[in-house]
């Protein structure tokens, strides 16, 4: 006799969507969260693309606690003194059916978990899962927790316990854990009056801005980001772990240098740090993903390394919500069919393969490595900003140099061989599909 049908570990976006899906399918669901409330352990780079919620929570955009709808999407290349900003604006993104939103994860995740409760799931917070229960055949039958008499059994356990997933590791789903597959994200939440943010970023009402930055991370491979909330700005850097330790630069020093950059400093002038935060990101995509299922177990979200870090696309919450939803649906189907072995749960992997969750990852497989490669990180920002600087610098009485000459000279100055440039361009073209 089991306590419940489905145990979901972790009430983040993956876990809450798994719980909603399984509860909507009529299963008994227990959703376990180790924080005092859902979202209390969670931070991120900053944009949620919630379109996938249409299926689980119709009309979600009328209730979800978002900060601003992103209407300006910028990609910024920083050299030491220069900046090239490619900025797209569409006010249509600020209206239904919307595109991306900024939100505080403690607000958003808590709201999403309450949707799971409304669908019939039981939410238990302040409870840390300490291990898995197995039957004599090794099949996973439940969880151990740090509560007195805290063992709980179920037909299926869905591990949505985040990037460090001790459950997926204990179940043997990860082949190995290599630091080079991870980045560290550190972020400052910076307080500014709403009207100042509106003026500096050229937005109004609940329109928001998303700026992704390449360069500006003090020689550590990674990137930066700036997002607008209503009366705060989220500013941070994402740093490749082995490089971070090798370069002997501390994360907060790298943030400080980014904040001093002439293109960034005016945006945040006068802002006060009201919250500092850090989180690790699974960055290597398909190349680091674990097996998605074992007997009695599914894994979703960051726990399954389902985070897309493909340069111009940086997404995670949508991958978490989708994979969680498919895991919840698959668990419910398997329970109804009476087979919750890995084979009985295979509809989950099938669904991941058929949808954007793994299709995007397969298409962009090579991009995370390209974006974090030394050339893209350390040479291209200078190369590209150098070209633009030369093109727009007027040196009368000298005539304008030809673009080909600028390209050749700047390429040499940046130390990029023609063959490497062509190779990276091809990888990029092929990789971005």
């Amino acid at each position: 006799m089991t306590n419940t049908d489905v145990i979901v570990v972790g009430a983040g976006p993956a876990g809450s969507c798994a719980a909603i899906a399984a509860a909507q399918a009529g299963k008994r669901v227990v959703l376990i969260e180790r924080g005092p409330f859902p979202g209390s352990k969670n931070m991120y780079g900053g944009v949620i693309y919630p379109r996938i919620l249409d299926e689980l929570i119709p009309g979600w955009f009328e209730h979800a606690p978002i900060q601003r709808w992103v209407v300006r999407r910028s990609t910024m290349l920083l050299s030491d003194t220069g900046a090239l900003n490619i900025d797209y604006r569409s006010n249509a993104w600020g209206q239904a059916p919307y595109n991306g939103a900024t939100a505080y994860r403690p607000d958003f995740d808590n709201w999403l978990a309450q949707q799971a409760v409304a669908a019939g799931a039981e939410l238990i917070c302040s409870t840390t899962v300490t291990g898995l229960l197995r039957d004599p055949q090794g099949r996973i039958t439940g969880i151990k927790t740090d509560r007195p008499d805290g063992d709980l059994t179920a037909s299926v356990v869905i591990a949505c316990d985040g990037v460090n997933s001790f459950i997926a590791k204990e179940a043997g789903l990860y082949k190995n854990v290599d630091a080079s597959n991870y980045t560290l994200g550190v972020k400052e939440t910076l307080s500014l009056p709403k009207h100042v943010i509106d003026e500096r970023f050229g937005v109004r009402d609940n329109q928001g801005v998303d700026i992704e930055i390449l360069g500006g991370t003090s020689g550590v491979n990674g990137g930066g980001f700036i997002y607008t909330n209503l009366d705060t700005i989220a500013l941070g850097v994402v740093l490749k772990l082995p490089k971070l330790s090798a370069q002997k630069k501390r994360p907060e020093e790298i943030i400080a240098e980014l904040k001093r950059h002439p293109a960034i400093a005016p945006l945040i002038e006068g802002a006060e740090v009201i919250e500092y935060s850090a989180h690790v990101i699974p960055e290597a995509g398909l190349d680091m993903m674990p097996k998605m299922a074992a007997d009695g177990l599914l894994v979703a979200g960051d726990a399954a390394a389902l985070c897309l870090a493909a340069g111009i696309w940086l997404e995670g919450v949508n991958f978490a919500m989708a994979s969680g939803m498919y895991a919840g649906q698959s668990a419910a189907q398997a329970i109804t069919a009476g087979d919750t072995t890995a084979s009985g749960l295979r509809s989950y992997t099938k669904k991941l393969n058929e949808t954007f969750v793994l299709k995007d990852h397969k298409k962009l497989r090579k991009i995370p490595h390209l974006v974090l490669s030394d050339r893209v990180q350390h040479k291209y920002p200078n190369f590209v900003t150098g070209i633009v600087e030369r093109m727009f610098r007027v040196e009368n009485p000298n005539p304008k140099p030809g673009v080909r000459r600028i390209l050749r000279e700047e390429r040499k100055k940046a130390g990029i061989s023609l063959i490497d440039l062509v190779r990276d361009a091809l990888t990029g073209l092929k990789g971005f599909g």
């Binding site: 005092p36 840390t128 460090n164 501390r250």
Partner: protein, 111 residues
């Protein structure tokens, strides 16, 4: 207004960037609900033989501090629970890392 005072005002405005903050002030912006049990343990003997000290550089909460006798002084209380330390550590078994007791540890609010 004189030209001098205009220039001075202009300079003040240009120099009025954000102030550097101390690391303690930075950490104090985050809420930590501290449990008496340390959720991370560090094996001092392993650290003594370590020359690379990845954790000292990478830990965003700056919890690992080298001591003059070649060891590592460690504090778990202001941990973000990110996992960076055990991921970057090169010494097998030097850092034992679990999540803190349910309800304890870092509590984010506007992240």
């Amino acid at each position: 207004m004189s030209l001098e005072s205009l220039r001075a005002a202009n300079n003040i405005e240009r120099d009025a960037t954000w102030a550097e903050m101390s690391f303690q002030d930075r950490i104090d912006t985050a809420e930590f609900r501290i449990h008496e049990r340390a959720h991370i343990t560090v094996n001092g003997d392993s650290c003594r033989g370590c020359t690379t000290r990845e954790c000292v550089v990478a830990c965003p909460a700056n919890l690992f501090v080298p001591t003059s006798d070649g060891g590592i002084l460690f504090n778990y209380e202001n941990c973000f629970e990110c996992g960076t330390c055990y991921l970057v550590c090169n010494k097998e078994g030097a850092i034992t890392w679990t999540y803190p007791e349910g309800g304890y540890g870092i509590v984010f609010h506007r992240t």
